[in-house]
């Protein structure tokens, strides 16, 4: 226990860094993912194709590969980052965006057909149908899966710890190396701080799910 209390500032710092990575990547991924989903259902064939290929490839890429690419391959190709956080955010948001796009698309499919037909019959164009009628309803129904994706994002941000970014996992690894005799306590501490982030999100997801279920 003493190890955790002694190094509480370090844990706290790591927690904030993990939170920072997750929030920034989460926001970028939400925006990019929604745009990808919109492209996926758009009348323009090239956009549909691009979105499909992007989602298919990124969803089937291991996150470690994405990180390896952003943090190790890109710098050696001449694209250097001032901070590795940038590489981590690129990898995390590019990866998560694919999953968000899939979730939003399934939400779009779940909106009753009549909604789109009604919107079209009063003369709305595709952009209006999507942004004013379909997406607001679609996003509401996919809030629980989106929260689950964000939980996965928080957990996935731990991979950044292995690629030169000091966040919760990174600090944990450092502490574990420094306190070889108390590895178990150190790592259980890290686990506790991860749960501090993921469990409330999980409860939020199931609460929202229940509310949506009642509303329907």
């Amino acid at each position: 226990m003493d190890v955790i209390i002694e190094n509480l500032p370090l844990y706290w710092e790591g927690l904030l860094r993990t939170l920072f990575l997750s929030v920034v990547s989460g926001i970028i991924a939400l925006i990019v993912g929604t745009l990808l989903a919109a492209a996926r259902v758009s009348p323009v064939a090239a956009l549909r194709g691009f979105s499909t290929v992007y989602v298919e490839v990124l969803r089937n890429t291991p996150l470690t590969i994405a990180f390896f690419f952003a943090a190790i391959v890109l710098p050696r190709l001449g694209v250097t980052f001032q901070q590795f956080e940038v590489a981590a955010i690129i990898a995390l948001s590019a990866y998560t965006a694919a999953f968000i796009a899939e979730a939003v698309r399934s939400g779009v499919n779940s909106v009753p057909l009549g909604q789109a037909e009604a919107a079209r019959s009063i003369g709305m164009a595709f952009g209006q149908v999507l942004s004013l009628i379909i997406l607001p309803q679609a996003l509401r129904t996919v809030i629980p899966p989106l929260i689950n994706i964000l939980i996965a994002l928080v957990k996935n941000s731990s991979v950044a710890g292995a690629f030169f970014v000091l966040e919760l996992f990174g600090y944990g690894r450092q502490l574990a190396n420094a306190h070889g005799d108390q590895v178990m306590t150190v790592l259980l501490g890290v686990a506790f701080f991860y749960l501090l982030l993921t469990v409330p999100l999980g409860i939020l997801a199931s609460t929202v799910e229940r509310k949506v279920a009642i509303a329907r």
Binding site: R120, I151, R173
Partner: protein
């Protein structure tokens, strides 16, 4: 292709859409060309850099890495699935002091990064990286399998369990003989999709120094020099993505087949067997 989201395009809309398509294609091709140009300036496309793939030992190392990846995934999946079934049974047990602790354990496992579990096993138990990778994958995925199967059981009509109990099965027998087989079949697409996640997560072995595909890339790049990093990485990533896409396709295929079967099953099911062929009854003599 028509969609409910927009009108069937007329001549003007078709023209706009065509222009959009062309512009989009040009943009994407331009972006790709820029990337290729940047890469070419780094000398990525020089023949000598790709010539390493004519060497057998490069392929052998890649093959070893791939073998390590696949074997870890296969072993983990084989252990995690029965464990997940068991956890699921404990999770829905009628006895509170079994159900509640199991639920806490499952929540704990699901809220944990997999790589943290791998590191935990590696450092705390001092195992080999291979064991650590498998243990991490098993712990995490059995929890997920348990939740998937539980969702399957909950989605069954209540009558299934009631019927099971009515014909005199015990609660456990009803779970094993009536509910689980249906739940597993119903959740097959999700289970296979989770296999893709498991396969992807083996790459986390890179972090705990397990000699899987990505580690093989790193080792070769360190040995052969930076110049070869990109070609090797490119090939390894392509292998990974190709395998995962194949497994994902299988999941989609199972889902489609399952739904076809269900639809066809109801539609084609005979309403009544009019004249069942009775076995010839011999008059007792």
């Amino acid at each position: 292709m028509t969609s409910v989201l927009y009108d069937v395009p007329g001549p003007k809309a078709r023209r706009v859409s065509l222009i959009g398509s062309v512009a989009g294609t040009v943009l994407i091709v331009g972006l790709l060309a820029w990337i290729v140009m940047t890469l070419a300036q780094q000398g990525i496309f020089e023949g000598r850099r790709w010539a390493i793939f004519t060497r057998g030992d490069v392929w052998m190392l890649l093959g070893n890495g791939l073998g390590a990846t696949l074997s870890a995934a296969a072993i983990a999946a084989v252990i995690a699935f029965p464990l997940g079934l068991m956890l699921c049974l404990l999770r829905i047990s009628l006895i509170a002091w079994i159900r509640v602790p199991t639920r806490v354990v499952l929540e704990f496992l699901r809220g944990m990064p997999v790589v943290l579990m791998m590191l935990f096993v590696l450092l705390v138990f001092g195992t080999s990286p291979f064991i650590a990778v498998i243990a991490g994958l098993v712990l995490y995925n059995s929890a997920i399998f348990a939740e998937i199967i539980r969702a399957g059981i909950q989605s069954l009509p209540k009558g299934q369990r009631e019927a099971g109990l009515t014909i005199g099965l015990t609660s456990f027998q009803s779970r094993m003989l009536v509910e689980l087989p249906q739940a597993v079949r119903r959740m097959m697409p999700s289970l296979v999709a989770q296999l893709v996640v498991l396969l992807k997560d083996t790459s986390l072995g890179y972090i705990v120094a397990y000699g899987e595909l990505l580690r093989a890339v790193q080792v070769m790049a360190d040995f052969l020099g930076n110049a070869y990093l990109f070609p090797i990485f490119f090939v390894a990533a392509a292998i990974y993505i190709a395998i995962n896409i194949c497994v994902s396709r299988i999941a989609v295929w199972i889902e489609r087949r399952g739904s076809n079967k269900a639809a066809g099953g109801v539609a084609k099911a005979p309403t009544a067997v009019v004249a069942p062929e009775l076995p010839e009854v011999r008059e007792p003599k």
